[in-house]
């Protein structure tokens, strides 16, 4: 049933709106300001209009080429980790115990990776995967599989994707578990009486009930992975070559490495808009699913 809107509630969120205005909108405007100007240092700025944007969105230019290369890498990365983490998370959630002391134990174990800061995760894997002293790297190489994330792009990708899966599958699993827990026992009993197979139960009871939390999980994981920075920065620094240079890494190189403030600002804005657009698509899909349900 629809909840009526309480007009008084707006007053309560006003302080937050003000804080957001100062913390987000004001800096954002600064970025917009940079993106339409050029500077050669000494705080001297020249009007450049939409020049940076034109360059950015044209793949034949140097800037545009870099941007699109990084963007495809981002999309590939997000696609890969979603394709792995979502099914894996569901599988983990399905195999989690439903009652007893094991529930608490499993939850704690699953939550552990989520509690580790990004840069620490990066550092752990940087060492863990090293071919000379890292347990993983050493073992894999001694099994006869050539593996070196500092030299081989494929190794670098495998490392980063594995790291992300290790770090975040728990989140998907926990969300799915919450969805599964909301299914009354009667559904499982009825399904057993109906002679439903394990797959039929998953397909007709569990998956529909998990649909909403899954959407949230996909949305969160997409946004996070699309904005990924810390872990690849710590582990590979964007290399070897540019093979793991994502948009965010490139952005930092551009802004802090080369001090191309105008280009970096234009890149930030476009980057931001892409994320917003994707979120909007998700939001629409979710609300439409909701209204189709009631």
């Amino acid at each position: 049933m629809d909840k009526p809107v309480n007009q008084g509630a707006w007053l309560l969120v006003l302080p937050v709106l003000l804080i957001v205005a100062f913390s987000a909108i004001v800096p954002l405007m600064t970025v917009v300001n940079y993106s339409v100007q050029d500077t050669f240092g000494n705080n001297q700025f020249f009007w450049n209009g939409i020049g940076w944007y034109q360059e950015l969105l044209d793949p034949s230019t140097d800037l545009g080429g870099r941007f699109f290369d990084a963007l495809w890498r981002n999309l590939l990365f997000s696609f890969l980790i979603l394709a792995i983490e979502v099914p894996l998370g569901i599988a983990v959630a399905l195999s989690m115990p439903r009652q007893g002391w094991r529930v608490a134990a499993t939850l704690v174990v699953l939550a552990l990776p989520l509690l580790i800061p990004w840069n620490v995760v990066g550092t752990i894997w940087q060492i863990f995967a090293r071919e000379d002293i890292g347990l993983l790297g050493w073992v894999v190489n001694h099994l006869g599989i050539p593996y070196n994330y500092t030299a081989d792009p494929l190794s670098a990708w495998v490392t980063i994707v594995t790291m992300d899966v290790w770090h975040w599958t728990s989140l998907v699993a926990l969300l799915c578990y919450a969805g599964l827990r909301s299914i009354p026992d009667a559904f499982y009993q009825a399904a057993r009486i109906d002679g439903a197979s394990r797959w039929a139960i998953f397909r007709n009871i569990q998956l529909p009930k998990m649909r909403r939390v899954l959407l949230i999980a996909v949305l969160l994981r997409f946004m996070d992975s699309f904005m990924i920075y810390t872990e690849p920065f710590v582990v590979t620094g964007g290399g070897p070559g540019n093979s793991t240079t994502f948009v965010s890494i490139d952005l930092v190189k551009l802004a802090l490495g080369q001090f191309d403030l105008g280009k970096a600002a234009a890149l930030s804005i476009v980057y931001n808009l892409i994320i917003l657009a994707v979120c909007w698509v998700f939001y629409t899909v979710m609300t439409r699913m909701d209204s189709g349900r009631s």
Partner: protein
């Protein structure tokens, strides 16, 4: 206090929850909101409590407009269908909680809690936590908490719906006495006609967000203002049949013609819907006045004290009406059997085209 709803409406996202409801609830009164699921009972209570602001219309407390006033500034207590108590607090502390919030002196809290506990027969359980209580005791605790608050308006939203049948019977019996001891306005939502009759007080019949009728409970039961009110306030469902009045005669939907008598005698010529409750559909001829109709038994149910017989009565247009007759004792009829049922024309309601009551038996006979 008195609570007045003045043409309140509630529309949410294109859906009508409440449409133009006007009600006046007096101080010290018990008011039953009777209607099926989604008839607007809960929406109306939320408006009364000030949890929602109506889309149109006004809410007046003692003549003062409180339409936009938030629930926290009003003196309201609520009891829900789910048993809502603080799980970590004892029964004593649960009941005392609204008084503690109001920072009342210790002695007063103790006195009031014990009084409420006595009234609701919770004295032996004061030291227990809700987990160790039966459903009935949990709901008693919730009711005691609502009472102790001394709120001017106490709203009970189907408070007995989650209780066992026998516990319901017990609480239904006690609640009117408990309410009578307080000066608050009580509003009690239920889907069950029998509950409204037991609680007495006033009844408002609701249907699809509209108020069908409001008045003293026996009056609403005995003299429904319209067919909607009669339907809402009948369990088993109201039996209906269309009749066409032609001078001194009525043509029934079954095709039979009868002399216009009883309630139907004084009506102007027109088409009416005649409604009669299950206890006024007889399986044995009560007297010579009765109208006999032949039907087929669909189902017969026995409760021990009563028998309910569901009868399909064929209409002249090829369709059929399903009626329910109740009679005392055990009556053996088999499904498929053709039987005669009898309508007492002095004990029916006649409703016009618009559903409004056109004629009814005098109140003394209706019993």
């Amino acid at each position: 206090m008195s609570l007045v709803l003045d043409k309140v409406s509630m529309h949410v996202g294109g859906h009508t929850h409440i449409e133009q409801v006007s009600l006046t609830l007096e101080r010290g009164s018990l008011n039953v909101l009777l209607g099926p699921t989604l008839s607007g009972k809960t929406s109306l209570m939320r408006l009364m409590a000030g949890l929602d602001k109506p889309t149109a219309g006004r809410v007046l407390v003692d003549g003062r407009d409180v339409t936009g006033v938030h629930v926290r500034q009003r003196s309201v207590a609520m009891v829900y269908q789910q048993f809502i108590n603080y799980p970590s607090l004892t029964v004593y502390e649960n009941i005392a909680s609204p008084l503690r919030v109001a920072r009342r002196p210790k002695a007063e809290i103790d006195r009031k809690v014990r009084e409420a506990a006595r009234l609701l027969k919770l004295e032996p359980y004061l030291d227990r936590t809700p987990m160790h209580l039966s459903g009935g005791q949990q709901q008693r605790t919730a009711i005691a908490r609502a009472l102790v608050k001394d709120a001017q308006l106490v709203l009970l939203d189907e408070p007995l719906a989650n209780l066992d049948y026998k516990l319901r019977e017990e609480l239904r019996e006690e609640l009117p006495k408990i309410f009578a001891a307080s000066g608050a306005v009580f509003v009690y939502a239920t889907t069950e006609p029998a509950e409204a009759l037991l609680l007495r007080g006033n009844t408002a019949t609701l249907w699809e967000g509209r108020l069908a009728q409001f008045g003293r409970t026996p009056d609403v039961y005995r003299r429904p203002a319209n067919i909607t009110s009669a339907r809402v306030f009948s369990d088993p469902p109201l039996n209906t049949m269309r009749v066409h009045k032609r001078g001194a005669q009525v043509v029934l939907d079954t095709g039979d013609t009868e002399a216009a008598r009883g309630v139907l005698a004084g009506l102007p010529d027109d088409t009416y819907t005649v409604g009669f409750r299950a206890d006024h559909l007889y399986l044995r001829r009560p007297d010579a006045e009765a109208i006999a109709v032949t039907g087929t038994v669909a189902v017969s149910e026995i409760t021990g004290s009563e028998s309910f017989v569901h009868v399909d009565v064929p209409r002249a247009d090829g369709g059929s009406d399903r009626w329910v007759a109740v009679s005392r004792g055990v009556l053996d009829v088999e499904p498929g059997e053709r039987i005669e049922v009898f309508i007492d024309p002095r004990r029916v309601f006649a409703f016009g085209h618009d559903g409004a009551l056109a004629a009814a038996p005098p109140l003394a006979v209706a019993a």
